[in-house]
Amino acid sequence: MNKMIKGSIAGATGVALLMGGFGTYALWSDSENLAANGVQSGELTIDTTAGEWDDVNSAAANDWNGATDKMVPGDKVSYTQTFTVNGEGKNLRGTITLGAQNLTSGFGAGNLVRTVAVDVSGAGAADITKVDDSNFTFASPFDTATLTAVVTYEFKSSVTDTTDQNKAASVPAVNFVIAQS
């Protein structure tokens, strides 16, 4: 065996010995967790229920049948429908808008008077600003609130003779929109 071969064998043996000795040495290390995290979205919703009729001139509640009862001069009846709105989200702002209600009436001018009143109530009412009966705004989340729309029809008692008998007045469905802005 020549010297070169002998030298290679000795070297390989030395390396193998060195590698076999790693398990006997400790080395420093450290770690930290990236904390669990996530985000959540808020909500902006509106819901409603069936409307209710009431004979305003009587003490009883909800005692007008909108399908069958007929008005006479002096009658005042109301149609009430409530809307529950929810708005959550730190930077939430927006509007609530009732569309135009176009009354189709066969009654004589001024004989049937309709008024629409919408008011807000509930825990989040303070965060909702009423502009008018068709427009509301909010500049912050309000959690939940209730909007109550009351449509009142008054058949004037000054109507005489046979005026406006067997007439009808109606409004189509109108959208109540809550929107982020």
Partner: protein
Amino acid sequence: MSRIPLVATVVGALLIGGATTGGTFASWSNQRQLHAHDVQSGQLSFTATSPGAVAVDQTAGYTADSTFVLDDTSVGKNNRQRITASVAGTPAGITARIGTSCASATTASVAVDTTPASADQSLCVRVTVDMPTTAVSGNVTVTISGAQRPTGWSTPSTMLQVPVTVTPAVSTPVAPVISCGAFQSNGNYSFTWTALDGLTYSVHRSTGPNLDGSFATVTATGNSPYTASLANPSTTFWRVKATNAAGTSGWSNTLRLARDGNGINSIDCDAVTP
């Protein structure tokens, strides 16, 4: 400044501007409907049946009644109606009154309060003869109208007619007046009396001037003349009274028929004052 940082700055500014205006970002919205609804008006109305015809006797105080029925046909939950009925245009000699019953028909008009749910209301028109000599047949007019209570609608007036037929009064007939008549060929004698249609007569014969002596009464179904059969000789006294539904008259004056035993024409007739 190199070109790459400049381009990055411009793009970032555009993105920030878009975020603040919201024009480039979708945002939440939600909607529900204020439901379609309607109101309707009702009506104020009534119907009335036709009153029946009445017949009255031409006698003071004579009354007859006619009734009819009102039905509130209004529509409307809160409809309240006052229906007023008045009588007018009565024929001469007749008075008409109206009420919710015939016993209470003492005024010229009556008002009843009804609702669409009310039971039908009966009204009575009482017709009374107050001027017998002028009472004539004709129509009593009943005018009916409705008005909403307390204010509001009213109905057009409805006119009803109550036909009234006045029939002559039937009273006790007056006593007939009997008169001498004529000889008959067989010795009989015919006499006459004032007569009216519709009456029956009783002819009375006696042998004494004061309904004394023997007598007989026969009924004459027709009017005079009446033929008396006389014995010869004989003297008889004849009287007549009239009867109708109201009663019997007093006796007429008296005829004395005397046959002297001679020929068939020997008969004396005298009107005798009772």
